[in-house]
Amino acid sequence: MILLVLALAALTASGLVALVTSQHPRLAAFCGAAGPLVAWALALTPALSVLTRGPVLSFECAWPWPFGAVVLGLDALSALFLLVILTLGAVTAVYGVGYMRGARSPLARGVAWISFDLLIAAMFLVVLARHALVFLLAWEAMALTSFLLIAFDCERREVRRAAWTYLVATHLGSVFLLPLFFLLGQPHASFVFSAFGAGLAPGTASICFLLALVAFGTQAGLVPFHVWLPEAHPAAPSHVSALLSGVMIKMGVYGLLRMLTLLGAPPLWWGWLLLGLGGVSALLGILFALAQHDLKRLLAYSSVENLGIVALGLGTGLVGRSVGAEDVAALGLIGALLHVVNHAFFKGLLFLGAGSVLHATGTTEVDELGGLASRQPVTAMAFLVGSVAICGLPPLNGFVGEFLIYWAALAGLVHTPAGAALPLAALVPILATVGGLALACFTKAFGIVFLGQPRSPAAAAAHEAGASMRAGMIVLALACVAIALAAPLLLDPIAWCVAPLAPSAEVVPRAAAVLWQVLLVAAALSGLLLVLALVRRWLLRRREVRSELTWDCGYAAPTSRMQYTGSSFAQPTVDLFASLLRTRKRIAAPDLHFPDAAHLETETRDVSREEIYEPLFEGTERLLKRLRVLQHGRVQIYVLSLVVTLVALLLWQVR
């Protein structure tokens, strides 16, 4: 435990030093990035030992605030999230050194570094907290530091707007935490987690579950609580986006899982609710991602999709637990957690890739890019690995998590009674559709941005990212491959994380054997690829290999403007789901015999933002404006109202 406290101290200290030395940018960046690296190194041993069934760590000391005591602990669930937080934190910190160079003023960068280090420290504390007050403080620190990071580029209006949206949304979500902890803590008058849950009435437990679902669902970006996410994540500097999308939204999943371990046996409808929310999030998330024109917004929406997949896994696990199907419960929960880990790596990787594109070209507008693969080979390779992984394609890590969720749903379909089987069966086509749409979305993201010809001078003049940025991307890409290769070995630690929710002693060896089989097929595939590549090389050995223009059916002067764009690539699918997406088109079509310049503009805004939240907030604002009658700005009237109030109180008291 002492190592963990040291790690926390290292994070805080390095942030402070980075702020103090912000006038010396190189030193500040070095100090700011050193903290996460040191913390990672310090926390690695305890986290790994807890994950491999070592003893649970705990730490306790009194504190002079009311109800207060610092209670920290590290069990397997916390350890898993801790590892993800610190690994991503360290990698994005290294990337950030190169990415932040020259951005805005030195002071702004100093503030960004301290916020970055404190954000990691706050998430660290969230997973360690075993007392409601510590948890809430860490949660709030996480919200505030990430707000500062999102607002880094605050000279741009839309960034300020995104940052405020985020701040409001995250606090609206946290509001639900207060009654949650109150309900949980009230029976025993204690806010220590270990006292929660005992003797909870089923009705109260359900209310607690709903409160947790809203609070943590907002953090996780589940539809319909996701509106802040596609605003906030793209606005932040890219290495921060990677941390926010890869790790911070997972704190919602952590919170939900933590509460589920406290709330006792779930009724069936909890699982169904999660399945429903997850299915809607996954489908809408990927559809909106496909319709976006901005690479970082696209990635942000895809986070909604992936958290939806995680929710589907959790829901399957809960349904399995409710109907007593241990296999289904264990596989669903393990799959969900594995997907959490995987998504952290490939989404982090993709955001770093997008950052490298932004750094090199100054834009993330998909339709202004193109041809970057020859100009940024490392970034392109990394982005390709991330894209294949996020589509859930074998042989990379994305497949493993989704496969386990599929398996859980299919096992549930086959082995449970009809009532539970049909909803679980619905999961199969949902996951398949989401997978197919993800493929469309990420072939668009990779193909339009990195392949073909550059669509703008900025893209044509792009350069490869600097050494620290390349290092960050390469590490994450290798991690995606490594997780895929080690997946059978990772099952046991992850099963250990969900052991309080689902016993899995029996299913883990079977699942590991299956994953070895998957690896066998992957090995066969790789071998075959290698052989074919060699055959191809051998065939072309002494032949003529020429380079020509792209064949455009006889047209000899193709230009980059004649290429398919991201919008045209996505158009058939976007049109098919027009009723859900409500894409706005402004079109000036060429007509008559001498057509003028034509023009087409499409924009897909968030439907739930426009249909639910904006009317809601405008209504609230109108309501509150009524109170303006009290606010004249004339001192006499204020004094009068003070006097009237005092007299009224006096009369009430002497009555």
């Binding site: 193109g370 294949v388 589509c391 096992a411 690829l529 072309l540 792209t550 064949w551 004649m562």
Partner: protein, 299 residues
């Protein structure tokens, strides 16, 4: 899993005979049109000729373009490892293995689409866009159909599901119809795509590979023939009776695959290509059929 087991023999047979499917289809279509049609071995001649050629690459392309055909071929061949034939279990079988099969094919698609976008040609972009669009709508039908059969047979692996299905059950019939529709879509056949037209604008799959030539194009052709074999064998496995000698079942599978090819030829001769806007409706119908099958099974 000895090297001479019927399963491996079957895979060898698939690799050997897959190109023949295309000439069978061409023959059927020729017969409908009152022509004689190309020689049965024409696809092999084509492949041999392509393999002996050099290559021309667009100056826009990168290594992705060169990787596309290889990945498409390798993924299809790897997917064959998971497919049982008749009563014979596949070389690799485990619970939910059909998910891996579908995703392997998707990996091939990812690289085919990327290779098409790599050329920067608007034609190939159009084909890629449509391929991605159709695939997203076709994928759920395959998995839901097989999931319904899993519930029906109480097993989770293709090697246990397929040999025990019998076509007499109405659910299996529904799934078979749906899978037949998806077969036509996935293999770029009528009524989804017209593989023989010479107008690039109307094609989906063929237009994506316009720029490939030489050995690369040979891989593309071979891979698409193999994919047709894979799908036909999957469909055939639904029909085959569960009893019989393994070698007989293997022979029946081959016969079934060619029967499916004949069926494709008949469909291609008697139907026109659907308008693009109609395609999602047909795919949705196929999905609805599998959903009905599922409800019948779970009931």
């Amino acid at each position: 899993m000895s090297a001479l087991s019927p399963a491996w023999f079957e895979i060898g047979l698939a690799l050997l005979l897959a190109p023949l499917l295309n000439s069978v289809i061409a023959r059927i279509k020729a017969a409908f049109a009152g022509r004689q049609g190309p020689p049965l071995l024409q696809p092999y001649f084509d492949l041999a000729k392509l393999l002996r050629k050099g290559a021309v690459y667009s100056s826009t392309t990168t290594w992705i373009f060169r990787a596309g055909p290889i990945v498409a071929f390798a993924t299809t061949a790897a997917a064959l490892l998971l497919l049982p034939n008749g009563r014979v279990a596949a070389p690799v079988a485990f619970p939910a293995d059909f998910v891996l099969l579908a995703y392997l094919l998707a990996l091939g698609r990812f690289f085919t689409i990327s290779a098409a976008l790599d050329t920067g040609s608007s034609f190939e972009g159009m084909g890629a866009s449509r391929e991605a669009h159709f695939a997203a709508l076709a994928e759920p039908t395959l998995l839901l159909g097989l999931a319904a059969l899993a519930r029906k047979t109480g097993a989770l692996s293709l090697s246990q599901i397929l040999p025990t299905t019998s076509l007499l059950a109405p659910e299996v019939g529904l799934v078979a119809v749906a899978l037949a529709v998806i077969l036509l879509c996935e293999n770029a056949r009528m009524p989804f795509d017209d593989p023989t037209t010479h107008l690039e604008l109307t094609m989906v799959h063929e237009v994506m590979v316009l720029d490939h030539g030489g050995p690369d194009f040979a891989f593309v052709q071979y891979a698409s023939a193999l994919k047709l074999w894979l799908w036909s064998a999957l469909l055939t496995a639904l029909f085959l009776p569960a009893s019989g000698n393994a070698w007989v079942a293997g022979a029946l599978t081959v016969a079934g695959v060619f029967a499916v090819a004949c069926g494709v030829g008949v469909v291609e001769s008697s139907m026109a290509r659907l308008r693009l806007l109609r395609v999602p409706q047909l795919l949705a119908t196929a999905l609805a059929l599998t959903a009905v099958a599922l409800i019948l099974v779970v009931r």
